[in-house]
C-alpha cells in the first residue's frame, strides 16, 4: 500500500524564484524542493510522508537553510515549520485566496533581511562585576567561597538570587541600549526572549540592504565596548522569521 503523502510548505516567494537542483528539504530521505506558482506569488514545497514525524535536527536545519538561502537572493515569507497541505491544488488555492496580501508583504521585504544580535555574558567577568557593585553579594561570597555546598546552601541561594536579579536588570538595560542604538539603522527591531541565564542581549532586526554596512558597524562597536564582558554574535542575513507575524492569516 502506498504511503500517504502531503506537501510541506516552507515559504512564500515571488513567482520568478527558481529552486536550484541541489536544494533539499525536510524528511528522510530529504524531499526535493519544488515551486508551486499562482499569479505573482509562489510557494516553496516538498513532498513528505504523513506517517513519519518531522522535527529532527536535520529537518529544522534543512528548513532554515532553504529559507535563509532564499532570503539572500529574493524576498521570502517563512511559513511556520510543520505546515503541510494535501497537494499542489491546495497550495494553488491558498496562493489564489491570499495572493494580494502575500505579494504586498513580499514587496515590503524586497532588499531587506533579518539579523539576530545575541550576546552572552562571560560568567566570571559578570559575577565579578556584580560582586563589585553589590556589598551584600560580596559579603555572601566571602561566606560561601571554599566551603562545602551543604553547609552554605542558604547563603548560596541568597547569593545566586542576587546575582540572578542583577543579571536581569543588566539585561534589560543592555537590550534597551541595543535597540536604541540600532533602531534608527533598521526598518524594525524587537527584543527576543533570553535563551540562557547568561544572556546579555538578544534582539532581531529587519535591515535594509542600503543600511546594512552601517548596521553591522554599529553592532561591531557595541561588541567592542563590551569586549571581555559579553561574547557578542551577529547572525544573518536570515529570512525574516521575526517580522512576518503581521501577516498571520487567521487566529
Amino acid at each position: 500500500m502506498a504511503e500517504e503523502r502531503g506537501l510541506f510548505i516552507y515559504g512564500i516567494v515571488p513567482s520568478d524564484v527558481e529552486p536550484t537542483p541541489d536544494a533539499s528539504g525536510v524528511g528522510d530521505p530529504p524531499g526535493e524542493v519544488t515551486v508551486v506558482r499562482q499569479g505573482r506569488v509562489a510557494a516553496l514545497v516538498s513532498e513528505v510522508s504523513l506517517e513519519a514525524a518531522l522535527g529532527r535536527p536535520a529537518d529544522l536545519t534543512a528548513y532554515e537553510e532553504l529559507l535563509d538561502g532564499t532570503a539572500a537572493v529574493a524576498p521570502v515569507l517563512p511559513v511556520r515549520f510543520g505546515t503541510v497541505v494535501t497537494g499542489p491544488d491546495a497550495v494553488a488555492d491558498l496562493l489564489d485566496a491570499h495572493g494580494d496580501r502575500f505579494a504586498e508583504a513580499l514587496d515590503e521585504l524586497e532588499g531587506r533581511f533579518e539579523y539576530i544580535v545575541h550576546g552572552r555574558y562571560e560568567e566570571s567577568a559578570l559575577v565579578q562585576g556584580v560582586l563589585e557593585d553589590n556589598p551584600a553579594a560580596a559579603d555572601l561570597a566571602d561566606q560561601v567561597r571554599g566551603r562545602p555546598e551543604e553547609e552554605t546552601r542558604e547563603q548560596r541561594i541568597r547569593l545566586g538570587e542576587i546575582i540572578s536579579q542583577a543579571v536581569e536588570l543588566r539585561r534589560e538595560a543592555e537590550n534597551r541600549e541595543l535597540l536604541d542604538l540600532l533602531g534608527p539603522l533598521a526598518v524594525s527591531g524587537l527584543a527576543r526572549p533570553p535563551s540562557n541565564e547568561l544572556d546579555a542581549v538578544h534582539a532581531a532586526f529587519l535591515v535594509d540592504e542600503d543600511s546594512e554596512d552601517e548596521f553591522v558597524d554599529a553592532v561591531e562597536e557595541f561588541a567592542e565596548q563590551r569586549r571581555g564582558l559579553v561574547r557578542m554574535r551577529l547572525r544573518g542575513p536570515l529570512a525574516p522569521y521575526d517580522f512576518v507575524s503581521a501577516h498571520q492569516l487567521a487566529g
Binding site: 541541489d22 536545519t61 537553510e65 491546495a90 567577568a125 559575577v127 556589598p135 560580596a138 542575513p237
Partner: protein, 144 residues
C-alpha cells in the same frame, strides 16, 4: 548566500555567522515563527506529527541560583572593595579575561543538557551535506 565569517575570537569582538550554527540556534530562530496557515485558512491543511521540540525557557530557579554561587567559587580573586588588597586584585584581574571566561562558558554549554548536546553533534555531521541554495538573479548579493 555569501557570508563573510570574520574571525570572532582573534580579531574583532563580534562573531559573525549566517544560518544557525547549532541546534539550539535553529530551534530558537525558527520555532513558532512564520506565517500561520491553519485549518481556518485552508481546509487542505493536514495535521502531521511533530517531534516535541521545546525552545529553552529561562526561568530563574534554585538550581540557577546554586549555579551562580558555584561561579563565585570559581572566582579566585577577591572583589576590589574587599580586604584592601588592591595590588593582588590588579594583578589577578588581567588573567580573568582568557582562562576563567572560557571555563565559565564550558559550564554553560554543559547545563543545556545531554539531549541537546547529542542532537547538536548529530547536527554537526549533517552540516557537511551540501547546503540547499537557490538563486533568482544571476548571482549572489555582493557582500563586503
Amino acid at each position: 548566500m555569501t557570508v563573510a565569517t570574520t574571525g570572532g575570537q582573534a580579531g574583532g569582538a563580534l562573531e559573525r555567522s549566517g544560518s544557525s550554527s547549532s541546534l539550539a540556534d535553529v530551534v530558537e530562530t525558527v520555532l513558532d515563527k512564520g506565517v500561520v496557515i491553519d485549518a481556518q485558512v485552508s481546509v487542505a491543511v493536514v495535521g502531521i506529527q511533530l517531534l516535541e521540540i521545546n525552545a529553552r525557557v529561562v526561568v530563574a530557579s534554585v538550581e540557577t541560583y546554586l549555579r551562580f554561587a558555584q561561579a563565585v567559587d570559581r572566582l579566585d580573586i577577591t572583589p576590589r572593595n574587599q580586604k584592601g588588597l588592591p595590588d593582588l586584585v590588579e594583578g589577578a584581574s588581567g588573567a580573568v579575561g582568557a582562562g576563567k571566561a572560557a571555563s565559565g562558558l564550558g559550564k554553560t554549554v554543559g547545563a543545556i543538557g545531554g539531549a541537546v548536546r547529542d542532537a547538536v553533534e548529530e547536527l554537526g555531521s549533517d552540516r557537511d551535506r551540501e547546503r540547499p541554495r537557490r538563486r533568482r538573479r544571476d548571482e549572489e548579493r555582493s557582500d563586503g
